[in-house]
């Protein structure tokens, strides 16, 4: 049980890294960025490449995070900036095209997949309690995820830049009227979002496949998280991500057991996995029904 709780927490924290960037971009710039998942992929590929090049996991990952932030800011400054004034449909179309372009560019540079392994010291499990073995690398992910979440909170709630970001999220026109340099702020936020993507991509690389198309799978869950949490709210993204992580992990383990207790074995084996896989979306539907703006909306 405890092991599953840790699994849920670890998955949730990684979703949070993706969703926090997405929710800020969506909340502040009112921009639907489908290519967010592509930045996650770029981060993972850069990490895999640089770890190999530098022969050091830490420096490879740090370099990848920095480079991905630069890529994100370049994208924002050259291309995405022109889309802010457009409607959501144009943004979806343009950023979807961007996914295809980035996917094929990555394939041209590195091929369709790269290997990325955890450092040797972290490759095995550790004993947390008698009878409870847990992969040490997943513990590192939890620690990194919690540390970044904390940093982000301090950044958003305690610093001037955070105040600008919150002002931008709650009322863009008023923030501009108060003299905040929106252009620079937007580029900065986009870079931050890209860096968070890269952290998630690089940290998950040793657990998941570093391959073209990896971003699309996880992007859907990240959107579910920000819809549950409320668009534009970092705190909402955190609660939403942890909730999704737990519901998904617990649903997959407990639900089939529960079904086997209640229903016939044939029905349970067919319905258990099916229901478990849609549980996250049921959660989203319930949240939308009770609070259409999400649990914690960043907008006024």
């Amino acid at each position: 049980m405890l092991e599953q709780a840790l699994n849920g927490l670890q998955f949730g924290l990684m979703l949070f890294l993706l969703a926090s960037g997405l929710t800020l971009v969506f909340g502040i710039m009112d921009m639907i960025n489908l290519a967010h998942g592509a930045l996650y992929m770029v981060g993972a590929f850069l990490a895999a490449w640089l770890v190999q090049l530098t022969q050091s996991f830490l420096s490879g990952v740090l370099l990848a995070v920095g480079l991905t932030a630069v890529v994100g800011m370049l994208l924002e400054a050259t291309l995405l900036r022109t889309l802010y004034a457009r409607d959501h449909l144009s943004q979806v179309l343009a950023t979807f095209a961007l996914i295809l372009i980035i996917n094929d560019s990555v394939r041209m540079i590195w091929g369709s997949d790269l290997a990325l392994s955890a450092p040797q010291a972290l490759s095995g499990p550790v004993q947390l309690l008698p009878g409870l073995l847990y992969p040490s690398y997943r513990l590192v992910i939890i620690a990194v995820g919690l540390a970044i979440a904390l940093l982000l909170f301090v950044l958003v709630t305690r610093t001037r830049m955070g105040a600008w970001v919150r002002a931008g999220a709650s009322n863009r026109e008023m923030a501009m009227a108060m003299g905040i340099n929106i252009k620079v702020l937007f580029t900065g936020v986009f870079g931050l979002g890209a860096a968070l993507c890269a952290v998630a991509g690089a940290m998950l690389g040793p657990l998941l496949a570093v391959q073209v198309g990896m971003g699309e799978n996880i992007l859907i869950l990240a959107f579910v998280v920000i819809v549950i949490g409320g668009i534009g709210s970092v705190w909402g993204a955190f609660v939403g991500a942890i909730l999704v992580g737990f519901v998904d992990t617990m649903g997959r383990t407990l639900l089939p057991h529960l079904f086997r207790e209640i229903f016939s074995p044939q029905f349970a084996s067919a319905a258990g996995p099916a229901v478990a896989s849609i549980l996250v979306y049921v959660l989203m539907a319930v949240v939308l029904f009770v609070r259409p703006q999400g649990l914690f909306s960043g907008r006024s």
């Binding site: 092991e3 599953q4 699994n7 670890q10 998955f11 094929d104 394939r107 091929g111 369709s112 997949d113 790269l114 290997a115 990325l116 392994s117 955890a118 490759s123 095995g124 499990p125 073995l133 992969p135 690398y137 997943r138 040793p206 657990l207 998941l208 496949a209 570093v210 391959q211 073209v212 198309g213 990896m214 799978n217 996880i218 992990t249 617990m250 997959r252 383990t253 089939p256 084996s269 996995p273 099916a274 478990a276 896989s277």
Partner: protein
């Protein structure tokens, strides 16, 4: 003599020439190649294509003595696109052979186009059970292996090891259920868990915790593509490989997966009909030439693509280039001998192969690279499929 008469005479002569043309041998062999060449699963289709074209190149651009005209298209991993491409090749381009498709669902969408228009499809991969059984057709040849075969061989291997408990995991869709059914058909021990996960699931931590609690001797998974890469990485990180033996179907731990996972793959067992080190001349040549041409080691998919080209080459040569007579060509394809990279095999009455299946283990080769090496005697010898009895063809 008025001009219209000359014209119509000329037309008549031309028509007569066209009408009698099939009696002559063709001047080239036209092949329509449809495969998944873009998107996350592109690596498989690319390997089939590269190996097929390698065989054509090594033959001096010819198949069976005729210049090979191979037209290649990308099905984009979409059944409807695949179907359109089949239709185009069959109706507009009037190709002699169709081939290329990786995935069963795409192949099944396109196949009726080929069958209805009497065009032969040679499958370099997908070989689903319906076409082996009641829906078998003379226009379909599986040059690869029946979809269940790797799983049956894995089940047999677990039985040979006298494994008492096995834990099975597959995505919750038809091919996932078929694969585990194939394993169970040949596994005599106890199945301690049979879990179906969401297709495309990323994180298997919850399932791995269940496996740790269930303490099986063997874990068998059917998780194609990225799912398998994720599972293997997480299985190793959880330290489960110390007490539990992980068995994979051959494509689940082939070169493409090794490239993505890295050193953690060492010591994994899988079952396949082909291996890099199968000791026959055709295979030695294939592996060496493939590596020389593309700077990477071939996968099972590549071996299948190469064999498909060799089969066409042998059949066209045996027919002396007379490829228009479909009935005769089908008969030739069924019986013609060629030096397959997998060694000897023959077609069953349903035109699915009867062949050997081997156990392979991932080891380091002389250059320190991770490769699949064949271990011991074949797990299944001269093995067909369970569906041939439902096929009316004799």
């Amino acid at each position: 003599m008025s001009f219209p008469l000359v014209k119509s005479l000329a037309a008549l002569t031309a028509a007569a020439t066209l009408a009698i043309q099939p009696a002559w041998a063709s001047d080239k062999v036209k092949i329509g190649f449809v495969s998944t060449l873009s998107g996350p699963s592109a690596a498989l289709g690319v390997d089939i294509r590269d190996a097929f074209m390698l065989a054509v190149k090594l033959n001096g651009g010819k198949l069976g003595g005729l210049p090979a005209d191979v037209s290649i298209s990308d099905d984009q991993f979409k059944p409807d696109v695949g179907k359109q491409l089949f239709e185009r090749y069959v109706k507009r381009d009037k190709v002699d052979f169709l081939t290329g498709v990786v995935f069963s669902n795409i192949m099944l969408a396109g196949l009726p186009e080929a069958v209805d228009n009497k065009t032969i499809y040679l499958s370099p991969n997908a070989a689903p059970s319906p076409i082996a059984g009641a829906q078998c057709t003379p226009y379909f040849f599986a040059v690869s292996w029946p979809n269940d075969a790797y799983h049956e061989a894995a089940g047999q291997y677990a039985t040979n090891l006298k494994v008492k408990s096995a834990y099975l995991l597959a995505p919750n869709y038809q091919a996932g259920k078929d694969s585990l059914a194939g394993f169970k058909r040949f596994f005599k021990g106890n199945v301690s868990g049979e879990v179906y996960t969401k297709l495309g699931q990323l994180d298997y931590s919850a399932e791995l915790a269940e496996i740790r609690a269930a303490k099986p001797e063997v874990v068998y998974t059917f998780l194609p593509g990225g799912m398998g890469i994720n599972f293997i990485k997480q299985f190793m990180a959880a330290g489960l490989n110390k007490d539990i033996r992980l068995i994979q179907p051959g494509f689940g731990s082939d070169q493409d997966v090794i490239r993505a996972v890295g050193n953690d793959m060492l010591g994994i067992f899988d079952t396949a009909h082909w291996g890099l080190d199968l000791p026959n001349e055709a295979n030695k040549k294939f592996v060496a030439e493939f590596e020389k041409e593309y700077k990477r080691l071939p996968t099972i998919y590549a071996a299948q693509g190469y064999d498909t080209a060799l089969l066409i080459d042998a059949a066209v040569r045996a027919a002396n280039g007379k490829i228009e007579d479909k009935e005769a060509m089908i008969k030739t394809l069924k019986t013609v001998k060629f030096n397959s990279v997998r060694g000897d095999f023959r077609f069953n009455t349903n035109q699915y192969p009867i062949q050997n299946y081997y156990l392979r283990e991932i080891q380091k080769d002389a250059q320190g690279r991770l490769v699949n090496r064949i271990v011991g005697q074949p797990v299944l010898t001269n093995h067909g499929d369970a569906y041939v009895k439902d096929c009316p063809m004799k």
